[in-house]
């Protein structure tokens, strides 16, 4: 890595400080990946014979089983023998989390250095080497550190470290233990590259890298077709999103010939409005792919096939929020195109609503949380869509805390259930709520902490969710009155009507969120236990290595709100800290470029909004407690399938089937029948190639018909020839 200190960075206030070690942040997880990967391969790789062909014939012939030990793979439910810890489990358990905690420590010290610098205007960009330079395209391998990426780094390394700690316990008995940590570290590396990238292409490395890691991790237990399919589906849907991201980059390059954020923010103003809207819409297509928004959200619920820590880290806290980060990072562009911003907000709201409705009727605990994530992501996009970037990022951070807590909580529940079923060799589904019930007596810590997270996500005051969700709804309401968005029309619908509608949907979704989260808590922890008599004795709290992260996340979910306390609650602590922190990156440039004024509400409207939100949250919880009767639930085996509207929700509005029949099947079938057999085999090969071969054959046969071998035939041929020639002469 040849360090080229760019002159500007030299003068940068951060250049002297520990921030210069910024490149170490991604490098640490990469080192973790390399080490763990090597350990994984070393354990399982056994060198093949020098002459495989001969060897192959022997083994088939002799038919004896060489008995590949070591990688015998106990699936979830085929554990007949005592779980064997992986040879290098100890070593890997140290490398994996240690690398993350080191990165987190470094991130904290850099954060410290940044806070000491009073008002950081310019981002701190470090260029290492020119990655691609042809013609007038010049992309450097460069990292950019500013307030926004600092927040993201802290979340990624912090929550990541906790989740690594958790997975030491959760994945303890898995034979692919080092491989799991290798992929997890690789994921954190790519996520950091995504966040720290100084230009869109460098960010794109991280963007597709995290897609790769989610593919590898979702399909971690690949010997089960469903998991492998889920992984493949995730990657391809992400890839469709990446297609949008690519087109956005090409548009940017074609029109302002620069792809790095600093360059774009300078030249964004001279982009034509149509072009800016196109760029932003394509960028949003990318976000929809990565952050599971309509229409590309279908992969996230299936991604639950991966191990729970993966769901917590990738599909709750970090990767799925990449889309929100992208929109925040290109705040300048989105500010310039109100139509695109409105689209983002509308799609966000619709996704939130749709996912919340589906969440109501899901039985798998992880699917409930998955749809809740899609819904909360919808909220974040509403936030950044309407221009309240700080609110969006704030909700991203708090969501990372309580959603990671919820997932890890469900992880410890599943771990306990699995251990119980494992002990009694039963094959019941360890993730289905109908087999749970009344677990508060057996998992007290998890129960308490999960309630904190539920209250947070529902929006009960003083918990982190309340502050961030309320901030978004306030942002929407404020801009509904008068703002650049309000007076632009979106496909005929005037802006302000749209914004009020979005606010309404937001409130209603908050109600649904409160309902399905309470439903989950009731069915899992309250009411009679449905796991089964013998298993009940085996239900116990997970080891401390799994519960400790839960506690830390619990604390963070509770006090997360203090990050950005609204104005009128000054009594609680320093108000709007995150707002001031992110202003130079997201606030000022966006407003400067559009010449808009910061929006604020009168105090009584804010009180009114907060009141409404609190009422909604409490109503949701009480409604769920009143309506739902956990006692009447029966274990999954005897459960009767729902009917009517409940069935539609349980089957996820049949969206998967719709996609399959409208896109996948015609594409695959069409290309098999139409493209391959018809055009390739029949038309080109059959008609032209072999056809011409048959044609020459045909002429050949005609020729040989005349060669009868009989002399008189030849004599006649000669005479006829002569007659014809002479005839020609006579006609001359």
């Amino acid at each position: 890595m040849l360090l080229q200190e760019v002159a500007a960075a030299g003068a940068h206030p951060l250049s002297g400080t520990v921030a210069t070690w910024m490149w170490l942040l991604p490098l640490l997880p990469l080192a973790g990946f390399v080490l763990n990967g090597a350990l994984a391969l070393a354990a399982t790789y056994r060198r093949g014979p020098s002459d495989p062909t001969v060897h192959a014939d022997h083994t088939h012939g002799a038919g004896h089983d060489t008995g590949h030990a070591g990688t015998a793979h106990p699936d979830h439910d085929t554990a007949h023998h005592a779980p064997t810890r992986h040879r290098y489990a100890g070593l890997v358990s140290i490398i994996g989390p240690a690398v993350l905690f080191a990165a987190f420590g470094l991130a904290l010290s850099i954060f410290g250095a940044m806070t000491r610098v009073d008002h950081l205007e310019q981002p701190f960009v470090q260029r290492y080497f020119t990655w691609m330079a042809t013609g007038d395209l010049r992309i450097d391998a460069a990292f950019q550190l500013d307030q926004l990426s600092m927040i993201m780094v802290l979340v990624i390394t912090g929550v990541g470290a906790l989740i690594h700690l958790f997975s030491i316990g959760y994945m303890r008995d898995d034979p692919g233990y080092p491989r799991f940590f290798a992929y997890l570290n690789l994921f954190v590396f790519f996520m950091l590259v995504l966040v720290l990238g100084a230009s869109y292409p460098v960010m794109f490395i991280g963007w597709e890298g995290v897609g790769l890691c989610s593919y590898l991790l979702i399909g971690f237990w690949f010997s089960d077709t469903a998991n492998a399919d889920a992984g493949k589906k995730a990657f391809i849907v992400n890839r469709i999103g990446d297609f949008g991201f690519l087109i956005a980059m090409f548009l940017l390059y074609a029109h302002i010939a620069s792809l790095d954020f600093v360059g774009i923010s300078q030249r964004a103003a001279d982009l034509a409005p149509g072009i800016v809207t196109a760029i932003c819409l394509f960028l949003f297509l990318g976000c929809a792919g990565k952050s599971a928004q309509i229409p590309l959200y279908v992969w996230l619920p299936d991604a639950m096939a991966g191990p729970t820590p993966v769901s917590a880290l990738i599909h709750a806290a970090t990767m799925v929020t990449a889309g929100v980060y992208l929109v925040a990072r290109s705040a300048v562009l989105f500010a310039l195109s109100p139509v695109a911003s409105l689209t983002v907000a509308v799609v966000g709201a619709l996704t939130a609503l749709l996912a919340a409705t589906i969440g109501l009727k899901q039985w798998d605990i992880k699917r409930v949380l998955a749809y809740s994530t899609v819904s909360q992501l919808g909220y974040m996009f509403v936030g950044v869509g309407v221009g309240a970037y700080t609110a969006g990022i704030f909700h991203l951070v708090t969501h990372a805390f309580f959603k990671a807590l919820l997932f890890l909580g469900s992880g410890s529940v599943i771990f306990a259930m699995h251990r119980a079923y494992h002990a009694t060799h039963s094959h019941a589904d360890a993730q289905d709520m109908r087999n749970m019930g009344g677990l508060r007596r057996y998992l007290p810590w998890t129960f308490a902490l999960m309630w904190i997270a539920t209250l947070a996500i529902a929006g009960i005051p003083l918990f982190s969710g309340f502050f961030s969700k309320d901030e978004i709804l306030a942002g929407v309401f404020a801009r509904a009155g008068h703002s650049t968005l309000a007076d632009v029309s979106w496909f005929g619908i005037p802006g302000n009507v749209l914004l009020y509608a979005i606010y309404g949907i937001g409130l209603f979704t908050a109600l649904l969120t409160a309902i399905y989260m309470t439903r989950m808590m009731l069915y899992t922890f309250h009411g009679p236990n449905r796991t089964g008599e013998t298993e009940r004795s085996h239900l116990a709290e997970a080891p401390w290595v799994m519960t400790l992260p839960l506690v830390v996340l619990g604390v963070l979910s509770a006090i997360g709100g203090w990050l950005n306390i609204p104005e009128l609650m000054r009594f609680l602590g320093p108000p709007q800290w995150l707002h001031h922190w992110l202003d130079p990156v997201v606030g000022a440039p966006a407003l400067a470029v559009t010449g808009g004024a910061p929006v604020h509400l009168t105090h009584q409207t804010e009180y009114m909004l907060i009141g409404a939100a609190v009422v909604i949250a409490v109503a949701g919880i009480l409604f769920a407690v009143a309506r739902l009767k956990p006692a009447r639930l029966v274990p999954k085996a005897q459960a009767v399938p729902e009917r009517g509207f409940a069935r539609v929700l349980a089957n996820k509005w049949y969206v998967d089937e719709l996609y399959d029949r409208s896109v996948v099947r015609p594409l695959v079938g069409g290309s098999r029948r139409l493209l391959w057999t018809v055009t390739d085999k029949w038309l080109i090969d059959g008609l032209l190639v072999n056809g011409s071969a048959r044609l020459t054959g045909f002429f050949g046969r005609i020729g040989s018909y005349w060669q009868t071998g009989n002399v008189s035939t030849y004599a006649w041929a000669i005479v006829i020839g002569v007659l014809v020639v002479l005839g020609a002469f006579t006609l001359r």
Partner: protein, 525 residues
């Protein structure tokens, strides 16, 4: 390094040496066979393998020198060697390289030793003939890349065809005869038309007084009317379109790949497909820039290229045979190259050149891997495998990395090429580029689906339980291919710098030629 090579007059003898070393190797193989009886299977003809490997490694080391001595500043031909060949016709043995030829030579000499290593145990009979053919094939290929005389180019083009015909025809799979004949006829028809075009050009120069085949002279003096230009360009186009292969002319590729032995497929995909695009870059477009720039001609070629991308990807998705799948993926990748060349911006042409190199490496690696499991399981059908990632973890890791590079994941070499092609073509052909970009999605679809059905999912066939993992030789091959995949992915700058000048020269040749029709010669020679 540069001064040491300069000292021994490296510039003057390197290119002829590159042509002669393989021939010497081939002869040595047969010399070593004298008095060793007729049996030519692995047991007692192993020496042929060793000699071939040694020769090709020397060839690689000699050609590696070019990497340092290549002067990125000069836009004229370098390491030029001129010998009289047939003075009466004005045909000389003129060889020289520029950025494009340099990279193609290095790709060839890099892949050839690996292909010998790849067929170490899979070729079991008639070894001397096989390895001699490989060596002659190397000469043919390098000859095509370095010849600056059209007649020499044509001779080398044919020298390259014949060994490949035999390699597919003798050591191939079940339908090898059909495949090799089809391959041969397809390319033959194209190249005969090209010969007619070359002779037509030659007659032009002959009537104008001094008959010559030299590329630069023709570049300067070619001034045929519009219709003649169209016909000539058509002839060149057909010859190279068959080789690329562009959409309608591609049906020989799947058959040739499926039936060729591992090394045959690797060389065919890795290097011989680049002959077509190299032909466009060197001969078809610079010689007839006005015809190439005709809107009708350019749009049809663009259409064929983009159809090739989508069609190749879609059809690859439904192939039961893994080799056929990779063959159709090659059609798709080379569609990108053609799109890059036709877009005529600096980024897109450089991107096209990068895709040519990267495709050589990643598809070559894919074929090696298929060859390896074919040696163990004797089946190329995707469904014959399943869940072998648990049984052969290193193989699974390699296949995943190479597939990701073929899909074009950022951080691997595939991305560099495709990104540059698309970002470059977008500036001049936005609509075509957007359509072509969907090819990126299908690429992910077909390859991931394939490796999922092979590596993941439960183990269905009992034989897969007894598969053995890669041995030392195979690890060396894969390491030699995976390292460039990652290295080019993260640091492609040296390659781009070396090709920059030639790409600029190509664009100016075509654009200036198209405008004022009298193609200007390269400065000095």
């Amino acid at each position: 390094m540069r001064d040491f090579l300069g000292g021994i007059g490296y510039e003057r003898w390197v290119l002829p040496a590159l042509l002669l070393i393989p021939i010497a190797g081939a002869i040595l193989i047969y010399v070593a066979r004298i008095g060793r009886g007729r049996a030519d299977d692995i047991a007692n003809a192993g020496s042929a393998r060793v000699i071939a490997l040694a020769t090709l490694t020397i060839e690689f080391l000699v050609s590696a020198g070019l990497w340092w001595t290549f002067d990125t500043g000069r836009s004229t031909w370098q390491n030029v060697v001129m010998k009289a060949w047939i003075p009466e016709w004005g045909a000389n043995f003129v060889v020289g390289i520029d950025g494009i030829a340099l990279m193609m030579i290095l790709l060839t000499t890099f892949i050839m030793p690996l292909s010998v290593l790849g067929s170490w145990t899979s070729i079991r009979e008639k070894l001397p003939a096989y390895y001699a053919l490989l060596l002659v094939l190397t000469t043919g290929m390098i000859g095509v890349f370095i010849s600056l005389d059209l007649l020499l180019f044509y001779v080398m083009w044919e020298v390259m065809l014949i060994p490949m015909y035999f390699i597919i025809g003798i050591w191939g799979g079940e339908r090898r005869l059909y495949a090799s004949i089809k391959f041969f006829l397809y390319t033959m028809v194209g190249s005969l038309l090209m010969l007619v075009a070359i002779l037509y050009l030659w007659v032009q120069t002959w009537q104008a007084g001094s008959p010559t085949f030299s590329y630069d002279a023709l570049l300067r003096s070619v001034d045929v009317g519009r219709t003649a230009g169209l016909l000539l360009f058509g002839a060149f186009f057909l010859a190279f379109a068959v080789k690329v292969p562009m959409f309608p002319f591609h049906t020989w590729l799947p058959d040739a790949h499926v039936e060729a032995p591992t090394a045959g497929s690797v060389i065919l995909a890795g290097i011989m497909l680049k002959m077509g695009t190299y032909g466009f870059l060197r001969f078809a477009m610079p010689l007839f820039p006005d015809v190439a720039m005709l809107p009708a001609v350019r749009t049809t070629m663009l259409a064929l290229a983009v159809i090739g991308i989508i069609y190749g990807a879609l059809v690859a998705m439904v192939q039961p045979d893994f080799k056929k799948l990779v063959a159709y993926s090659s059609v798709s990748h080379l569609g990108f190259v053609m799109l890059g060349i036709l877009a005529l911006t600096m980024e897109s042409v450089q991107g096209a050149l990068m895709v040519m190199i990267n495709h050589g490496i990643s598809t070559g690696a894919l074929f090696f891997l298929i060859g390896m499991i074919y040696e163990r399981r004797h089946s190329r059908m995707i469904d014959a495998y399943g869940g072998i990632a648990r049984v052969v973890p290193l193989f699974a890791a390699m296949l995943t990395i190479v597939s990701l590079s073929s899909i074009g994941l950022p951080g691997t070499n595939g991305f560099i090429g495709e990104f540059l092609v698309l970002i470059g073509s977008f500036r001049t052909q936005p609509i075509w580029t957007v359509i072509a970009a969907t090819g990126v999605i299908f690429a992910a679809a077909y390859l991931l689906w394939a490796i999922q059905r092979i590596l993941f999912q439960p183990v269905t066939h009992p034989e897969n339980e007894r598969l053995t993992d890669l041995n030392a030789r195979e690890v060396v091959i894969m390491a030699a291919l995976v390292i460039p995949i990652l290295w080019i992915g993260f640091y492609p700058q040296p390659i781009l710098a070396r090709m920059e000048r030639s790409a600029a020269q190509f664009i100016s040749d075509v654009e200036r030629g198209a405008t004022e029709r009298s193609g200007s010669a390269r400065v000095g020679n």
